[in-house]
């Protein structure tokens, strides 16, 4: 767990180094890359908005992962490993292989997330490109109770909060960083709620 946490910052550092040096835009003004060519950006689903193909891909993936976890043999084995590693091993499940597969799949999906953000929204790579999406995604998984569809719903809620924050800033001059406070309180509530329920039961 610690190694993955540390690798985050290696990746952030690599991107920062790259956009300050060999990947910097031709104009050399800002630490960012040139924009991707027009033909390489994702098509928009709703014209005039920022709803791009990646949104549909994310929804489809959430449904696909739920189906995989609930309805396939491999998905059952994966849940067994997560529920009780020792029992799974005793039942003949190759624990290390499944965990590695889950790791690789999650890395691939996260990479896809970066790719659609770049080709669908920002159009270029820059320092602090990922403003904590990974940590928020982790939080969404906890709020969504580790169910892919629940997680997607939690992500949609975070997205709604963020765009509401931008709207508030434009219309009423409330600074958009205040939304972060709201997100933090949401996380705190999500952590505290199960405990509170248990205490009442």
């Amino acid at each position: 767990m610690l190694a993955t946490l540390l690798l985050n910052f290696v990746a952030v550092g690599l991107v920062a180094t790259a956009v300050h040096s060999f990947l910097q835009e031709r104009a050399r003004t800002f630490p960012q890359t040139d924009a991707v060519p027009a033909g390489a950006s994702l098509p928009m689903l709703l014209p005039g908005t920022r709803v791009h193909l990646g949104v549909a891909a994310a929804a489809a993936l959430a449904l696909a992962f739920r189906w995989f976890l609930r309805a396939t043999n491999a998905g059952f084995r994966m849940r067994a490993v997560g529920a009780n590693r020792e029992a799974a091993a005793l039942a003949g499940i190759r624990v290390a292989r499944i965990r590695l597969a889950a790791f690789l799949a999650s890395g691939a999906v996260a990479g896809l997330g970066g790719a659609v953000e770049l080709t669908g929204v920002t159009g270029r790579l820059y320092e602090s490109f990922s403003s904590g999406y990974g940590f928020l995604g982790l939080a969404a998984a906890v709020i969504g109770r580790l169910d892919p569809v629940g997680t997607a719903a939690a992500c949609a809620a975070f997205g709604a909060l963020q765009s509401a924050g931008m709207l508030l800033e434009r219309r009423f001059g409330v600074s958009s960083v205040a939304v972060l406070v709201l997100e933090a309180l949401l996380l705190a509530a999500a952590l505290a709620l199960p405990r509170w329920r248990r205490a009442r039961a």
Partner: protein, 288 residues
């Protein structure tokens, strides 16, 4: 003052926030709590020091405010992880978001126009302030506590084996809560050093990943505050050196590359390149 001495003093000043944060993180991780919220606690400390000194408080009061802000945030973290027993990474994320959002919003609301200079700490020895000296003393003090006192032994038991701790009737929740609060105070003071020493004002997000660097330094120092402190000092030297080299035009490497170094070095240690090492066995595990 000779250039070498002044360089060394600069390096120590640059290492001060890291020393304090790494010592705090070593305490919580030895107690079995991984606190990524130290980044937010550092930022909150920096903001509180700025807010206090912009309101006319003297430097020592600004430091006290910073320690208080760090303690307050870490109390929230302790509530979520120790009392409610929630996921430690998610709780840390919540603390970081809260600190970034609250300090940013408050700063824009009250101080954005006419950013005031913060009170400066007066030097105690050479150009070193008493805050620097406290930072230098914190790793040996934490190591002495952890490895030479019975309280320290019990605290480590909470990190190594919760079930053994329970069998010995050690109140793990209390030890963990105490370690988390102490780390908040230390990180808050680290934030005061950021505002009052390394800068003269507050900037949004000015902790700039130093909390996460401290996290890496603790792993690099194999969970011993002494080694983590030494690593923090080494990083301070590199940081100060990097400034000199950039200024002299001798270094073409972007400074961002240097920021990766502690993480890569810690990964190398975790991967076993420096002999066998392992984190506290019950690190990250909540009580049953």
């Amino acid at each position: 003052m000779s250039p070498t001495v002044s360089f060394a003093l600069n390096a120590i000043a640059a290492a001060t926030p890291l020393l304090l944060c790494a010592t705090g993180e070593a305490l919580t991780e030895k107690a079995g709590v991984i606190n990524i919220g130290i980044e937010g606690e550092l930022l909150a400390g920096a903001f509180a020091a700025y807010a206090a000194s912009a309101s006319g408080a003297p430097a020592w009061l600004a430091c006290a405010a910073a320690a208080g802000a760090g303690a307050l945030l870490s109390a929230l973290f302790g509530l979520l992880t120790v009392a409610v027993r929630g996921d430690q990474i998610v709780a840390g994320t919540a603390v970081n978001l809260l600190a970034l959002g609250a300090t940013g919003a408050a700063f824009r609301l009250w101080w954005l126009e006419g950013g005031l200079a913060a009170a400066a700490l007066s030097p105690a020895i050479g150009s070193l302030t008493w805050l620097d000296l406290a930072a230098l003393a914190s790793p040996p003090a934490a190591a002495a506590f952890l490895f030479r006192t019975s309280w320290g032994l019990r605290l480590r038991a909470c990190g190594e084996s919760l079930s053994d701790a329970r069998a010995l009737a050690i109140p793990a929740s209390r030890y963990r809560a105490a370690a988390v609060t102490a780390s908040g105070v230390l990180c808050g003071l680290g934030g005061a050093a950021l505002t009052l020493e390394l800068s003269t004002t507050f900037v949004e997000g000015m902790s700039a990943g130093r909390g996460f660097v401290a996290l890496a330094l603790v792993a690099f120092g194999r969970w011993n505050p002494l080694f983590a402190g030494a690593a923090a000092l080494a990083f301070g030297v590199l940081d100060a050196l990097q400034y000199r080299l950039q200024a002299a035009g001798l270094l073409r490497l972007p400074p961002q590359a240097l920021l990766m170094l502690p993480y890569v070095a810690s990964l190398a240690v975790l991967a076993g390149f420096a002999g066998r090492t392992r984190p506290p066995a019950d690190l990250g595990r909540a009580e049953e």
